[in-house]
Symmetry: C2
Subunit: 237 residues, 2 copies
């Protein structure tokens, strides 16, 4: 663990700056609260593959992501993971378990090297209990995630794997965008894609190469180029 050095990188780790630059809920904190946050938070760096926390464990705080990408997942039957969501700059993870004071119901693993702030539980609980407009933002945030989860449930329950693969590609475009050459700004293994869709790795591979034949996408290893977004939308219906 010694590799995750605490440090004070003044260009990036000040929460007020971070809060204004991102859509973080922390922009609703007062000056004083932001100062406390700055004082008590722990800035950390993680590399791809690192685990931030494990499902089932009690956690003593939550994480605010400054850069990089983290996947949040549950472990299902015989260890197969189900990816619940990805978190990126400005987003917070593990706050749910902190607020409901339960063991983590998910695990979190780094997809792209990242810098995060670890913030002790008590701070979040205190802010929620004493700053009504911050509490309201947190409520809105959970409500939003809940709405997303409900759509996710409906999709998985009703759509075919083919439709869901197309849809996942589109939602990755929406969340992470494309670079100048139309490549998705997130690279996942085929297995990870399968674990979002809720299918077998081989099925994802087959469908991706089908989409490639149909000139909807191009593949370069893990990089996926989106050629025909409309076509994908049509498939995801």
């Amino acid at each position: 663990m010694s590799r995750f050095m605490k440090q004070h990188d003044f260009t990036i780790s000040f929460c007020d700056k971070c809060a204004f630059e991102t859509s973080s809920v922390f922009r609703f904190l007062t000056r004083d609260e932001t100062d406390r946050l700055n004082f008590e938070k722990d800035f950390r760096r993680y590399k791809r593959g690192d685990i931030l926390y494990h499902e089932g464990n009690r956690i003593s705080g939550f994480y605010c992501i400054n850069s990089g990408i983290i996947k949040v997942f549950k472990t299902g039957i015989d260890g197969k993971e189900q990816i619940i969501r990805f978190a990126r700059k400005g987003e917070i993870i593990a706050y749910r378990s902190v607020l409901s004071n339960e063991p983590a119901c998910t695990s979190a693993e780094v997809i792209e090297d990242c810098q995060v702030c670890f913030i002790p539980s008590e701070l979040l609980i205190q802010f929620v209990k004493t700053n009504p407009s911050f509490a309201f933002e947190v409520v809105k945030l959970t409500c939003h995630e809940l709405a997303e989860a409900n759509s996710y449930i409906t999709d998985i329950a009703q759509k075919t794997v083919r439709e869901r693969v197309a849809e996942v590609l589109l939602s990755l475009v929406k969340d992470f965008g494309l670079d100048e050459q139309k490549y998705l700004r997130i690279s996942l293994t085929r297995e990870e894609l399968a674990n979002i869709v809720g299918t077998a790795t081989e099925s994802v591979i087959r469908l991706l190469s089908e989409f490639k034949s149909d000139r909807l996408i191009e593949l370069n290893g893990r990089k996926i180029k989106i050629i025909d977004q409309k076509g994908l939308e049509k498939i995801s219906s």
Copy 2:
């Protein structure tokens, strides 16, 4: 709509009484706030099949359930419904849309005749913004629902229909309990069961009669008798 008469039934519609009797979040309101709730709420009765609100519509308030059962569902491709959850005595529905100020992301329909209180949006928002401990409860509530939604996603994505049917029966036992003769205290159509599981009606029918042959359950129309709970747990794994 004239059938949903506003009325003042003093034995059941006073929120303070209701709040204490149930596990409602309203027990965290102050005396004054409870009085306002009593004054502004609208007591209503609905019958099986009635719709409380439709997905996509803006709503001007939310509902607290005094008695009866309501199903909350999303409408997926070609109209197939996906049941998200059931709400019963003491629970609130539609609060999510109110808090995030978005159109309803679900519809709500009465499964068992019910009595509910309709509470204007502004009241909820005001309470959340001014009563920190109430806000904290609402946060915990949404966090809890979020955790449930995440498990639901993992189950649907990874388990077989057979496992899910067994699991749904068990979760109905957990939520609604059994009567003296071990019958489930909620009756659903086969189609509704299918719409929880996320499968075809015929599949549910086949699996139920399979469970019946295996002496796990007994069937009397819509009433389901749970004989071997352990057996069901084993199947749902």
